[in-house]
Symmetry: C2
Subunit: 119 residues, 2 copies
């Protein structure tokens, strides 16, 4: 499911179409600093780049009006998730995130074992 | 880390203080219908009730201005997460969620194997 959120959205509102478990979820929780210069462009570019990686399954993302956000990216396995982390352009974005955009963040790598949905 | 978001917030802006992995993450992704009558109260009550359950480790939640949200609750193990799902008052809230608040949702149960943070 995808909604048209207009140009101002950093990330399309999407439920990821993941396959039957198991697969890997990378849960990225972050609090923005307030300095969002360059963030929207980089975020959009990272979405695009991630989607082109081997083993990419999808991404879901929400950020509230106070700058607290959760992004979950889904991967076929832990190896695919690790490789995405090391892509040069992504590493550079991560560094900028640490230095400029995020006051704090946390990353958790998890194996999804079960899922269900409604709607 | 916790920020004071004022009374209007449904959920405090919080990074969950989870222990060293492994532990369980329940990733709840949802899109609101637009009918939020009763939602804030129930959401706050469910936070409170979850925090009182055996095996509860914490919760992180973000919802954007278009009603797309991600809530991740953390539990010591899959059994604790399952038991929370069956708590009577929570079951009643889940039913109301399906009927009134959520156009669509997805739940994924995952085991966190690794984490790291900054900030």
């Amino acid at each position: 499911m995808q909604r048209d959120g207009g140009d101002c959205r950093r990330v399309p509102v999407t439920f990821a179409s993941t396959p039957r478990p198991p697969y890997v979820a990378v849960i990225f929780t972050s609090l923005q600093t307030g300095d969002v210069e360059g963030y929207a462009e980089t975020s959009a570019r990272m979405e695009e780049l991630a989607a082109a990686q081997p083993g990419y399954l999808g991404i879901e993302s929400a950020r509230d009006s106070e700058g607290f956000g959760i992004t979950v990216s889904y991967w076929v396995d832990a190896q695919a998730a690790r490789e995405w982390k090391t892509v040069a352009e992504h590493r550079s974005a991560q560094e900028r995130g640490r230095n400029q955009w995020y006051a704090m963040y946390r990353v958790r790598i998890a194996t999804v074992e079960r899922d269900y949905s409604d709607g």
